[in-house]
């Protein structure tokens, strides 16, 4: 999409000289549009307001077809979510029940915590592919500390979170200060972490011996709302404040939007990237340790599988609310769509392998909508 700011470049003379057969002047066509407009486009007008140019009037940046594409894309994802709910509630009569809805939210909590961290990383224009490794190592380490070594959770939790900070710092230093591509850094770090899971656990499954207080906390509810959902909601809210209302959030988004402009404005891009990677890894390790507490068992490479769903949720989210930007509300919707799909397929007794198949397809369709919104359908 990225509409060109009006008048940011000298007018291209090649267009003016060759264009004998130009379309009607913009003013006239705008007037024509005003009079004969289908009902649907009024809704479009409300959802995607025509950006007012600062010179008052003049040509708008988003032309009509781009706005239509944006409209299709923007309502596409929510419509799909709605369609999923309708379809599942029609064919699975236990789908729209209080307990199942509670179930969906419970299942969404940990993926949401990880996806929130990833949203921060993506909004500064970087990747983190070590999410599975961070969450997995956190799960195994937490299990070893509390179940095998008998450490108090009050000590183990900060320790595991500190490990997350450390891993994020490694990613951040390599990417921010040494300028290595995040893609390869985080894949390498992921591999190291997954190897480490075996070292920490001694390659055996850890189950039993979890402190009952911790387990009842992770499985419990406050006022009928599962604690993990409350934690995820708090994390998402804090992340929203961070991205939208703080200096660091501004700097993260400035780097994601135009790193050179941010540097020229005086943003210490290396330090900000370090901070971004630390937050991402911290949240992944938080999700990992909560996973251990809820499942009360841990085995290497058998932890939260959050990498693909997190990326999918973030990219779906970028097509909503603040179009073209990664944002927390969008990520929440993205996570919910993935969870609703997974839950519905389980209720329909679809075999696990087939469930992967459908989840993949539904994610691809949602991503396609997202892509159409962000790029206006251009392939390059």
């Amino acid at each position: 999409m990225s509409p060109k700011p009006e008048g940011s470049r000298p007018a291209d003379p090649t267009q003016s000289s060759g264009g004998v057969l130009t379309e009607e002047p913009p003013a006239a066509s705008a007037a024509a549009r005003q009079s004969a407009r289908p009902v649907g486009s009024r809704l479009l007008e409300r959802l995607i307001p025509r950006p007012a140019t600062a010179d008052g009037g003049g040509v708008t940046s988003l032309d009509r077809s781009a706005r239509r594409r944006a409209f299709v894309g923007q309502i596409g994802v929510p419509l799909m979510g709605l369609a999923l709910i309708v379809v599942f509630s029609l064919i699975a009569d236990n789908f729209l029940t209080g307990s199942n809805i509670k179930d969906i939210f419970s299942q969404a909590a940990l993926p949401l915590i990880v996806a929130t961290g990833l949203t921060i990383c993506l909004s500064m224009g970087e990747f983190d592919l070590s999410l599975n490794g961070v969450a997995g190592l956190a799960t195994v380490l937490m299990a070893v500390l509390v179940a095998r070594k008998g450490m108090s959770p009050l000590l183990a939790i900060p320790l595991v979170l500190a490990l997350g900070v450390g891993i994020g710092a490694v990613n951040g230093v390599l990417v921010g200060y040494f300028g290595v591509a995040a893609l390869i850094v985080t894949i390498a770090v992921n591999s190291i972490l997954q190897g480490w899971e075996f070292v920490v656990s001694g390659s055996v499954q850890i189950f039993g011996g979890f402190p009952p207080g911790l387990v009842s906390f992770a499985r419990g509810s406050v006022l009928g709302i599962p604690t993990l959902v409350l934690i995820a909601a708090a994390v998402a809210w804090l992340a929203w404040v961070l991205l939208e209302r703080t200096t660091l959030g501004r700097h993260l988004r400035a780097i994601g939007g135009n790193a050179e402009a941010a540097r020229i404005a005086g943003v210490n891009t290396a330090r900000v990237k370090l901070a971004g990677f630390i937050i991402t890894a911290l949240l992944a390790s938080l999700a990992g340790l909560l996973f251990a507490a809820r499942e009360t068992n841990a085995y290497p490479l058998n932890g939260l599988d959050v990498l693909l769903p997190s990326f999918a949720a973030c990219f779906i989210g970028a097509a909503m609310f603040k179009i073209g930007e990664f944002n927390i509300p969008g990520t929440i919707v993205g996570v919910m769509i993935a969870q609703i799909t997974a839950n519905g397929l389980i209720l329909l007794n679809v075999a696990t392998y087939a469930s992967y198949f459908f989840q993949g397809i539904i994610l691809l369709i949602a991503l396609l909508f997202a892509r159409v919104v962000v790029t206006g359908g251009r392939s390059t």
């Binding site: 990225s2 509409p3 700011p5 009006e6 008048g7 940011s8 470049r9 000298p10 007018a11 003379p13 090649t14 003016s16 000289s17 060759g18 950006p51 007012a52 140019t53 600062a54 010179d55 008052g56 003049g58 940046s61 404040v241 209302r245 703080t246 200096t247 660091l248 501004r250 700097h251 988004r253 400035a254 939007g257 135009n258 050179e260 402009a261 941010a262 540097r263 020229i264 404005a265 005086g266 943003v267 210490n268 603040k322 073209g324 930007e325």
Partner: protein
Amino acid sequence: MTAIEVAGVSQTYPGVRALTDVSLALSPGEVVGLVGHNGAGKSTLTRILAGVERPAEGRLLVAGEEQSFHGPQDAIEAGISVVPQALGIVPTLTVRENIVLGVPLQRRLGGRSRKSAIGRDELDARVSTVAEQLGIAGELRRDGRDCSPSVQRLVMIARALLRRPSVMLLDEPTAALHPEEAERMFGAVEALRAEGMALVFISHRLDEVLRISSRVVVLRQGRVVAETEPSALTKSSLAELVAGRELHDAPAAAAGGGAAHARETILRCEGLAVAPSVQDVTLDVARGEVVGIAGLDGTGCGTVLRAIAGLARPAAGSILLNGVAIKPTRGAAVEAGVAFLPDDRVHNGIVPDMTVAATVTLGGDREFRLRRWLPVLRIRREAQTVDGLLDTLDLHPRGAARKRVKFLSGGNQQKALMARALNQGADVYLFDQPTEGVDVGARQELHRHILQLAKEGGAVLVSSSEPEELVALCTRVLVMHDGRITRRLTGTQVSETEIVHASLVGAA
């Protein structure tokens, strides 16, 4: 007979007359040197010859017959090739692969080939001929990235030669080449000329133009002001033709008179050197002063500004602010009060999806934090303050602070960046091409605000490729040539002609 000829060509863009009644004929076996300052009409003429634009008036004759080009393809079919200034070489391909890049080949297995497709044997023959001609036969297997800049340029020429043109336009073929590298380019141009090609050599390097051309054509303000043999010209007389009216010896009276009132030097650079090209730059800017820095593209004016702004690390020399050296990081420079408005606003200035308020306070939002230790921003207060700043800069319509910056016009985006400098409370303002791509009205406003900044006690340094702009703004202009300051113009010396002349000629 002429290979190509334009007769009485005029071209108008909205509000600008780019070419007026220009006639130019190219014959086989000659090199025409085309010179003129920025905006003189060289590019327009090139675009017309390349079929990119059609002239509003005038005729175009190819081999004596009148033709009109409807697109670049027509020009190519008529045997006209333009070798652009930008390097389009792929570093990981060999020289040979680079030369044949994009040439349609005949299909091997009988499928339908394009009409212009060439057979493999034919292609091999053409490549070796062209490589012979240009003297790069020995380097065909070398990787593009291992080639010297002159060979890279020659590869671009070779690519154009594969189409067997009869006319070639070379746009700044020696820009950024060392003398010995340029020598190689001249050899190739001479060889092509000897084989009967008509060449146009577009360059700012006057001595090269005088050396290589059989005829020199000078454009100024869209008209041909001179067309002569190079032997009738000297470098200095050619520079005068390019710059306009005759130059008199620099009026000595205006210079050196200073020291009448106390000058408070804010910014001082001593012996500044910055890779790749800037050497030994010494300058100072006093409170309330607007100093200009001029030079052709690539001489390093922008690099000097970036070094002062903390964005390029100096190899030697010092940068002093109020007598104190500043660390060469952008953060330190911002702290010290150096505001920098970069050139190329789209790439260096704005983050398109940010609000105007965030754009203005980026890098300096301390006063809007909830607590000193809690960097949560009070965005309502921020928006109010920013709207106030934008008001002082006459940004219309009012209340733009919460809009996304990409929806502002170019001039208003520039004002938003200026508001950032104001918000940072800077002492030194560095402007790199401050009115690039801004319409005439906004341009005048920006000029007014720049002068206002100086009046309010700022020290302003402006780099611009438009002499007119520097004359409008500056009391002193430093002219750079090949990375050094070669002239310092003051008082009445600050004129368009002096600036153009000095940037072309270098040390007088």
